[in-house]
Symmetry: C2
Subunit: 366 residues, 2 copies
């Protein structure tokens, strides 16, 4: 981590990444997934950074996963040639259809999620006249009950996609319910495997081969990385966060590579300090009980309340209260929304500030 | 509001403002505060838009309130000449000190909040050598127990500020606890008045006259707009939101001028639809019980859960479920974090898209 002297030179609030930890996280996940015979396709929504995506690709990722057309465009502009938009994008408006056609024509392998006939129809319309059909993956609901058809309906939707002229290259699922507890990680990973096995059977019954079987988020990636799953899409693992430590998806706070640097701006009220990191720096991820982030340098402290530009940090009895002007490090509960709130990362390497990297796809929501 | 045809041309998620409602909100608050003999100094953290600040100033605002050095710089660059940084900024680093000196030298009236001797010392150091002393307002805690000294200590801090060479132009307070219920609005406003009265006495005992007495947020502004308060700093009122309707700070949803336009991207799970507005479009403002925003076109619906890029909207029995591709309007619970998540506003006027305005100070947190 950064030495105290350099820490005090950072204007706060700021998002800081520790490149040694980030690189170790990239290497560890890549090794864990590859050694199980599965491809890694990291979700870049977690970092939105071209520099970080390049490091993941250089480490062996087969491509990237994105969550919006705008994100896909940022990484396509940067030369990424294999992009899966793991989202049931609606291509209805003329402008949106044109952007999807643009990505399809200039990215070597661009694929999109579908879970409805209507959505597939719009994607087919949007890419009509291209020199090859658009690649789609049918989304399966493995228990998150968010998006995705039931496994037994996957074959019907895949057949409809083919009739519409789309290239059905596989299936994908997201077990959002696996991120709620340590036990849920294992049951959620089992749900992923069960759901895709059923879906493969459903497509096979229609005579449709399944090339890509994509699953895996940071909580489940290593657990479900085995046949029939062929690709995994974790995102958070590049940074990790306090929730990942709680879930056991990383070993300890030493595996967390993203922080918010914040300054104590008031000590006027006894028993607490006020820091300059509020919801516009940390999001509102957490609750009053577990707090909205951890401050490891202050054992027993609780970041119990956030306003937009203020965090209320209760100081444990017997712990020396920091002074106005002290810079503290907050470990977010959830890293992904944090990067999106800042324009740039402060990148530290070997304990010193090595540069500032843009959060290239910040706010590219549509 | 926008007609359905134009609505369907918006790429979503997007933040949309209705200029007729916004202008009515500006006029109403300006009239309510001015008619009570109090100056209005809107907090621009709510909108972060130079265009909108200009409308507030043209309507009669005496200046603006900001929450960070970066925000102050954006509005100073746009030519705003009266800026109150209502924040206990720490000027410790050389770079930060230089930025504060820069604002002090180029803005006709630039003032800053203080609630500690150490903070005041740094501000004095930062602006040493300027052709006039930096203007500061002493912050008073009126019950939010966030920042601000106790009223009875205000005179001591004011005297220390003067000894440090700062120009003590007044006091300010923020009754954050007033935004929790309708009753709390009234008791919070009374707390503001009581706290500043005591603080004025404390400064008077030191022989320090109090020029500016600043209080008032959207929940309290109209209630506490009377002597000895001379300035009010509401922000949200320019847009209003679902929480303001609940609190009674505006009359109905017809007074809300900011929305998130979102598209239904999945209807795969019965009883709900999935929209493309998640925490990266709405923040995580709300809870499962009250929901994370309102969808007025679907009575009884509940936006019960948000992921980063997905909202789970439960549809009330008997209400026709929207289809994939339908564009819906979400009224946020809290407007302020929403604008900060987008690069631009889609501005509608008289039911048609009138332009796109940048969210100029988005993410200028430090």
């Amino acid at each position: 981590m950064l030495n105290a002297e350099e820490l005090s030179t950072i204007e706060t609030p700021a998002v800081v990444i520790d490149l040694e930890v980030v690189d170790a996280n990239i290497t560890r996940m890549q090794g864990a997934i590859t050694s199980r015979g599965v491809n890694l396709r990291p979700h870049v929504k977690s970092h939105k950074s071209v520099d970080l995506a390049r490091r993941q690709l250089e480490a062996g990722a087969v491509g990237i996963t994105v969550s919006s057309v705008g994100e896909a465009e940022v990484f396509a502009d940067a030369g990424v040639e294999d992009i899966f938009l793991a989202y049931t994008i609606w291509a209805g408006s003329a402008r949106r259809a044109g952007r999807i056609m643009g990505l399809h024509q200039r990215v070597r392998s661009f694929s999109v999620g579908v879970d409805s006939t209507a959505g597939a129809q719009q994607l087919a319309n949007a890419t009509r006249g291209a020199d090859r059909p658009l690649r789609v993956l049918v989304e399966i609901d493995s228990g998150a009950h968010r998006t995705g058809v039931r496994s037994e309906e996957a074959g019907d939707l895949a057949a409809e996609c083919q009739q519409l002229g789309l290239d059905v290259v596989g299936i994908f699922t997201y077990a959002g319910h696996a991120g709620t507890s340590k036990d849920a990680r294992f049951s959620g990973a089992a749900d992923e495997v069960h759901a895709v096995e059923q879906a493969i059977a459903s497509l096979s019954a229609q005579g449709i081969p399944v090339g890509i079987v994509s699953a895996g988020s940071t909580p489940t990636a290593v657990i479900s990385a085995h046949a029939p799953i062929t690709e995994s899409r974790p995102g958070e693992y590049i940074f990790n966060d306090a929730d990942n430590v709680r879930l056991g998806t990383c070993e300890s706070l030493a595996d967390v590579g993203l922080f918010v640097a914040t300054t104590v701006v008031s000590t006027a009220v006894e028993g607490q300090v006020i820091i300059d990191a509020g919801t516009k720096a940390l999001g509102r991820e957490g609750n009053a009980e577990k707090g909205y982030g951890l401050v490891p340098s202050l054992p027993g402290s609780s970041l119990r309340l956030l306003n937009e530009h203020h965090g209320y940090l209760s100081i444990h009895e017997g712990v020396t209260r920091p002074s106005v002007g002290d810079v503290l490090i907050v470990v977010p509960n959830h890293a992904c929304p944090v990067a999106n709130l800042f324009g740039e990362y402060i990148v530290i390497d070997a304990g010193t500030v090595a540069g500032r990297w843009p959060v290239d796809a910040r706010g590219h929501l549509s």
